[in-house]
Amino acid sequence: MKGLILDFVFVFAVGGGLCVIAQLLIDYTKMTPARILVTYVVTGVVLTAIGLYEPLVSLAGCGATTPLTGFGYALARGAESAVRERGLVGALTGGLTGTAGGITAAVTCGFLAALTFRGKPKT
């Protein structure tokens, strides 16, 4: 039980902490949300490549994989396993294979939501 609580403390702290960094960037640098998301994904790939993100994932689980840096982690991990399996071609297929589930879910949800819900009139 104590271990479980501690696990969730790490999930909360790392996930929340990654959001605070983005909030500081928004407040102090006026970066747009799109730039923040792009920065986070690329940072996730770089941190995974230099071996810093894997320890964070084993420490914080979904606290590290749910923020967009985790999307970068999935891209980098996908590229690695595809390269191991099929050589250099894997560099072209691995990234999107690793993130296919998330991207496809988002596209499907976007389309279904457009069919189901009414948008707000633009003011």
Partner: protein, 150 residues
């Protein structure tokens, strides 16, 4: 009231609300932390249901995306996001919202150049630069792997 430009500027500055950075950060921390903990709960429940771990790793973000899409559709997501700021933007929920929200709002422009194109307004750059970074890393990894370093 008669004010020259400089006095007015000083007056306006003294009255304008200071950006409450600390409060912003606290909200972002709490919202981001809670969202990640919800994801972690799903992760553990799915494992408990004996779903293989490689599928759970895909199912958890998918669950979060579907939830965020529903909340966006019924208009709740925007209300939470207004308070939470980066707390809802940075988790995968923000990515889902960035796809679903313009998709809903641009239906009037048609399904091809409206819904189909606009859903990638923010998700597009994320996918483009993420994919590019993964290609670069894949090529580097190939040589490291071949050289026996990794």
């Amino acid at each position: 009231m008669n004010l020259d430009a400089r006095t007015y500027q000083m007056y306006a500055k003294s009255r304008s609300k200071k950006s409450p950075v600390f409060v912003d950060c606290l909200c972002a921390f709490l919202a981001g932390g809670v969202i990640c903990c919800i994801a972690e709960c799903f992760y553990r429940v799915y494992l408990h249901l004996h779903i293989p771990e490689n599928n759970v790793r895909i199912l958890v973000p998918v669950t979060m995306i579907v939830t965020a899409a529903l909340l966006t559709g019924i208009g709740v997501f925007d209300k939470i996001a207004k308070r939470a700021g980066a707390g809802t933007l940075v988790p995968i929920t923000g990515f889902a919202n960035a796809v679903v929200s313009p998709a809903i709002d641009s239906r009037a422009e048609g399904f091809i150049l409206g819904v189909g194109a606009r859903m990638f307004v923010i998700a597009g750059p994320v996918i483009v630069y993420g994919t590019l970074a993964s290609v670069v890393w894949g090529v580097i990894y190939y040589f490291l792997h071949k050289g026996g370093i990794m």
